[in-house]
């Protein structure tokens, strides 16, 4: 377990793409279910290489927004494109609330799942490197059922990175972990995702403050995006970093006020 935090920062070989990753431009997005409007005229621009944390109460539409960006759901109106003007399809990696490891595949097969599904040859050297990075080297032949929650989530991170996608979307990926494991996996994710454009949904203000460059709150019916809170310094920030503590308090207050 300790090996993770001692791992060196990702080398050039682990970077998803050579060029700057595209940003995300969300324009006039609307989502309605029947007569219920989840959100309307939603505009959001995520710049290239930035790490955004999106917070909000459950049921406010965070996951729906993420699924629309990932191309898994269709909006009622509006569009999502890359900041380079091209569509995002094929450039996004997605991490859901559960690790979604396929139970019949072992760790290595799960990490290389994308290649398997596209009928490509697996890149074993790349998989080895990633397994090493997430501290699962030597466990690659285990089935997911033999892994602890933290190990499963790390395998899911390796699977996400294996795709070499410049944009990574995460939907509360660490919420099921205990506090200590969560902190370790957060460190790992922050280190490995530095060169990606990332959008993280979370309901944990501490997680948002440790990982995010900008923090945005989605609240209300229909939901609107609040003013972003910007944090300096490279993530992962220490949990006792004064800035983290202060923003965390501010966020929590904002969320409780919005909830009333």
């Amino acid at each position: 377990m300790n090996a993770i935090s001692q791992n060196p920062l990702p080398t050039a070989a682990s970077l998803p793409v050579g060029d700057a990753p595209p940003g995300i431009v969300v324009k006039d997005l609307a989502l309605r279910y029947g007569r219920q409007t989840i959100f309307e005229n939603l505009n959001l621009e995520i710049r290239s290489g930035e790490f955004i944390a999106l917070l909000g109460a459950s049921g406010v539409g965070k996951s729906s927004l993420l699924k629309i960006i990932a191309g898994l759901a269709t909006p009622s109106a509006g569009s999502v494109i890359g900041s380079d003007g091209k569509p995002l399809a094929g450039r996004i990696a997605y991490m859901g609330q559960q690790d979604l490891l396929y139970p019949w595949l072992n760790v290595r097969q799960n990490v290389t799942l994308g290649a398997r599904l596209r009928g490509e040859k697996t890149d074993d050297a790349w998989a080895d490197h990633l397994l090493e990075q997430v501290g699962l080297a030597g466990r690659d032949t285990l089935l997911p059922s033999a892994l602890s929650g933290g190990m499963r989530q790390r395998a899911a991170i390796a699977r996400t990175l294996y795709e070499r996608r410049p944009i990574v979307l995460m939907d509360e990926p660490f919420s099921a972990l205990d506090a200590l494991t969560r902190a370790k996996v957060q460190d790992l994710a922050a280190e490995l995702l530095t060169k990606c454009t990332a959008l993280l949904i979370t309901h944990d203000p501490l997680e948002a403050c440790r990982l995010g460059r900008h923090l945005i709150v989605l609240a209300g019916h229909p939901a609107t995006l609040g003013e972003p809170i910007t944090l300096d310094g490279l993530p992962p920030r220490a949990p006792d970093n004064p800035q983290v503590l202060q923003s965390q308090g501010r966020l929590l207050r904002m969320l409780t006020e919005l909830h009333q």
């Binding site: 699924k67 990932a70 997605y94 979604l100 396929y102 139970p103 599904l117 596209r118 009928g119 059922s145």
Partner: protein, 253 residues
């Protein structure tokens, strides 16, 4: 230790049943009503060629019925998954096919397909395909949405999604259907043989019954039970092998 106990348990059950049986025959029941274990063993040995031949006939009927039933069940389940409209038309037909007892169909099938193997295979197929279709279709429909979404973000094609996600995810349900199918498979063949046939264990039993050769009837019954148990065990073993990733909580206890 527990493995050893599991191996011995069937033997203990078998000997226990034999003892109870033997005890009952001691009460003076005439041999034509309840033969003793010894007379049945003798009948088994004396009629080994005759019984062996009919055993193989029934076994081949069941095996063919199992293959056809599995194939039909899988094809129907896949068809219904791919075409919801076809499913709306097929489902009532499937339910009707199960609502009519095979007993009622047996004479007709023998009339149409003759006294040979075909009518028995069809009957076994009719009994077997339904649990397979129902469970496999259920499994195909209930694929964890997250797994499918993940496959979609990884640009999986339709065929890859079916092969690597849906089929694999449906295997546990398919396994349950397979177990049920193996357990009910002999029924179809035996009913078919009762209604009209010139070979098979069902024919032997009917024939022996008519001639009050009760011990031959018991011998055939014994062989049939043996076949059923071995079949169920074999299927159970292969299902376990097939589902290597499914935790078996009954094993860890």
């Amino acid at each position: 230790m527990s493995r050893l106990r599991n191996g011995i348990r069937p033997l203990i059950i078998f000997i226990g049943l034999l003892l109870i049986w033997y005890a009952v025959t001691l009460t003076g029941i005439p041999n034509y009503l309840l033969p003793t274990p010894a007379t049945v063993a003798e009948a088994l040995w004396k009629g080994r060629d005759y019984l062996g031949y009919h055993f193989l006939v029934t076994l081949s009927e069941i095996a063919m019925g199992l293959c056809c039933g599995l194939l039909l069940g899988m094809i129907l389940a896949l068809t219904m998954m791919f075409s919801p409209r076809l499913q709306q038309w097929l489902m009532p037909v499937l339910i009707i096919s199960q609502a009519i007892p095979v007993f009622a169909l047996a004479p007709l099938l023998v009339l149409w397909l003759g006294f040979g193997v075909a009518s028995k295979v069809v009957m076994a197929t009719l009994i077997i395909f339904f649990p397979v279709t129902a469970s496999f279709f259920d499994g195909l429909r209930r694929t964890e949405p997250g797994w499918l979404e993940l496959a979609k973000t990884m640009n999986a094609g339709g065929l890859a999604e079916l092969r690597h996600v849906r089929l694999m995810a449906a295997l546990p349900s398919f396994g349950s259907g397979l177990r049920v199918a193996a357990a009910v498979a002999p029924i179809g063949a035996i009913i078919g043989e009762w209604v009209g046939s010139s070979s098979g264990l069902g024919y032997v039993m009917l024939n022996a019954n008519a001639r009050v050769q009760t011990e031959v009837c018991f011998a055939a019954l014994f062989l049939l039970a043996l076949m059923a148990i071995v079949l169920v065990q074999l299927v159970d073993l292969s299902v376990r092998k097939l589902l290597y990733w499914v935790p078996d909580s009954s094993q860890t206890r």
